[in-house]
Amino acid sequence: MAITMTQAAAERVRKFIEKRGKGEGLRLGVRTSGCSGKAYVIEYADKIEPDDHVYESHGAKVIVDAKSLVYLDGTELDYTREGLNEGFKFNNPNVKDSCGCGESFNV
């Protein structure tokens, strides 16, 4: 299994990092918090740690620490538009249920 990005997501990541001026890629993670137990972390990665797993899709890197991978394995990250709103969307097969808005989830 692995973590992948759609073409749209990869393009946004590349564009954002270019505008930001630095960064190895996108760090995805999971931490305990929120109304349904777990919450996503989505940040710029300035460096890659020894225990990190690195996946590449469409020329952009996704970096995940080993602990978070348990909850994220198989996830596809997309970038979509809903009305005027736009942003990254997690398609995570590990999620059993999530809070109403999907910002936090349970596995």
Partner: protein, 631 residues
């Protein structure tokens, strides 16, 4: 399903706790809203992908006002209810509007209110209410784009906006349900968009050529603080004038009469604008225009020819550029960077002329229509706490000095211009006359020395000062300016604690040109102002002395013999005569003469007073050696 944005390392917010604040460029012609998402500041488009919202509001009998493109589309059918360029009226009084009114197509309702109201089918509308409609539309767009209610905003205002105009902008935001984190000056926002605030220091010119206005500002950056060194401009010059110049050329070439109908004129202007935009990239463009007799005229406009048409307009921006350099006392080659703002600065010829003038390539990577909104969004992101504190806390400065009227019609500056805000300063004043129980506090804005040359912002009275000898009361006047440049003034008599205060609210405003004049005049008239101040100071001294001597004569005139009395009377007359004139040196001399003439009198009064105080008392009562203190 939630949509996520990328955070800086370690900055991912807890679920449901991400906060956004937007930056809003509330422009004369167009307005924009921008926000920092995934660490990148971007303007937010509407559902048709359009970033610019025309600052036009149309009021209707049935239903809510229509804002933006839809309002423009029908502007020509409903001109009296379609309000454009309302920014020019913000914070202005009825008098100012009457002067501007010649060029505005709206009907103003007569009324006692200090604020002008535009008559529409949906009732009388204040400029603040019209601006609030524009802000509401942008707020809705932001709320939809960010997927959550947006309440906090940084709104930009021109550097020359005075307190009344800033307050009006804040009022409009409140009416639109927005909390203003701060008002930011437009040139400062443009500089922030380019990250110039990250430099240790520098002098930057912000060249802003919009649709209908031109502004040039010189900013000096020092340790993260931008100060406005000078501003100038032309409130009736912009890209629209270029469209008119091109349209007139088309009319001449195509043989269209001057009295072309409204509809045809609009079509011509639209074609002219399109041609101008094509020629930003291309060297020539072909125009097809339908004549009155349904024949089609076809003509070619080259970039060279376009340049010839618009050169006279671009050249009008250069004298203000020279003026700001002169006002700031620097040369063009001392400017460390030039930032282009406003759609008209896309025109290659404009860039060419600006580069020539300043001798360097201007910064133009960021879309000049969006740069101000982007800077405001970056500032909003910091103020809402999405950036680490140390990264940026941008301070602003007041554009004109603030002060008080003191005796003789002079202005005592309490907070000099370019002071960083927020700021609080206090100064102690005293009474001028014996037994004075009230003090008029007259708050003024401007650089000149005399009250008549400055702008009156507010007046209030401090009453209930206990009667004391002149100069004995201590009255502390405090000036406080918040982060948005809004002023509150308080006066407090320190022995009794009686207090009075005022918040400066919109009363009436100045035109852009007047503000610019105020700054320029203060430099042009520096010498005569100094002279005038000297004269007034001597006049005040003279009045004080005459008042003191006359009250002494009334009390103790009997101490003088006829000859002494005549001399003093003559000296008083001499001083009064000198005081009536304009010669400060002569007044000074006359003061000296009267002082000299009253020297003996003053000594004798002192003796008499002591004698009077001692009469009927034994020396011992005053604690002389050997005696016992009585109390």
């Amino acid at each position: 399903m939630a949509l996520f944005q990328i955070s800086e390392p370690g900055q991912t917010p807890a679920p449901h706790e991400r906060r956004y604040a937007v930056g809003i460029d509330l422009g004369t012609t167009n307005s924009l809203v921008a926000c920092v998402r995934s660490g990148v500041a971007e303007t937010l488009p509407d559902e048709h992908g359009r970033h610019l919202l025309p600052s036009v509001v149309r009021y209707r009998t049935d239903g809510a006002p229509v804002v933006g493109h839809d309002a423009i589309a029908v502007a020509h059918e409903d001109p009296l209810n379609t309000i454009a360029s309302v920014k020019r009226l913000m914070g202005r009084g009825v008098e100012d509007v009457r002067r501007l009114g010649q060029s505005l197509p709206y009907e103003f309702s007569p009324g006692d209110s200090a604020m002008p109201r535009i008559r529409t089918v949906a009732g009388d509308q204040s400029p603040v209410a019209v601006s609030a409609e524009i802000l509401k539309t942008l707020k809705t767009r932001a709320t939809q784009s960010l997927g959550m209610e947006i309440g906090d905003a940084v709104i930009t205002v021109p550097a020359y906006f005075d307190d009344a105009q800033r307050q009006a902008t804040k009022d409009a935001a409140r009416l639109a349900g927005l909390n203003v984190l701060r008002l930011l000056s437009e040139p400062t926002a443009a500089a922030v968009a380019y990250g110039l605030d990250k430099n240790p220091r520098g002098v930057y010119a912000i060249y802003d050529l919009g649709g209908g206005t031109f502004d040039i500002s010189l900013l000096r950056l020092n340790r993260g603080v931008f100060e406005v060194m000078a501003t100038a401009g032309d409130s009736a010059l912009g890209g629209d004038d270029m469209d008119h110049a091109i349209a007139e050329w088309i009319m001449r070439e195509a043989g269209i009469q001057d009295d072309a109908g409204h509809r045809q004129m609009r079509r011509l202007l639209r074609d002219a604008r399109a041609a101008k935009e094509v020629l930003t990239g291309a060297e020539k463009t072909t125009l097809r225009v339908q004549r009155d007799n349904h024949e089609v005229w076809e003509g070619v406009l080259t970039r060279t020819h376009l340049n010839a048409l618009i050169d006279p307009l671009i050249d009008r921006t250069l004298p203000p550029c020279k003026r700001v350099l002169r006002d700031a006392g620097i040369r063009a080659n001392e400017v460390d960077g030039v930032v282009l703002v406003g759609g008209a600065t896309r025109i290659p010829r404009v860039r060419e002329k600006v580069s020539q003038f300043f001798g360097r390539e201007p910064l133009a990577d960021i879309d000049p229509d969006k740069v101000v909104a982007i800077g405001a969004a970056l500032q909003a992101d910091v103020l809402i706490g999405n950036k680490r504190d140390e990264e940026m806390l941008l301070l602003d400065v007041i554009p004109l000095s603030l002060g008080l009227e003191i005796m003789g019609g002079m202005v005592e500056k309490i907070i000099p211009r370019n002071t960083t805000i927020p700021v609080a300063k206090a100064q102690d004043f005293t009474t001028f006359k014996d037994g004075q129980t009230a003090l008029l506090v007259h708050v003024l804005q401007g650089e000149r020395e005399l009250v008549t040359d400055c702008r009156s912002l507010a007046r209030f009275e401090l009453r209930g000062i206990p009667p004391m000898t002149a100069g004995a009361a201590r009255i502390r006047v405090g000036f406080q300016i918040d982060a948005d440049g809004l002023l509150s003034v308080s006066a407090r008599e320190l022995t009794t604690g009686v207090e009075s205060s005022v918040v400066v609210k919109p009363s009436y405003g100045l035109t852009d040109n007047e503000i610019e004049h105020m700054l320029r005049d203060s430099i042009a008239h520096a010498r005569e102002d100094e002279e005038a101040r000297k004269l007034r100071e001597q006049q005040v001294d003279a009045d004080r002395l005459i008042e003191a001597v006359e009250s002494a004569l009334a009390a103790d005139g009997s101490l003088l013999d006829v000859k002494e009395r005549t001399e003093i009377d003559r000296s008083i007359e001499g001083l009064k005569a000198a005081r009536g004139g304009n010669d400060a040196a002569r007044i000074k001399q006359a003061i000296k003469t009267l002082d000299g003439a009253t020297l003996a009198f003053a000594a004798r009064r002192m003796d008499a007073n002591i004698r009077r105080a001692l009469t009927g008392h034994k020396l011992e009562e005053f604690g002389a050696p050997g005696g016992k203190p009585t109390s």
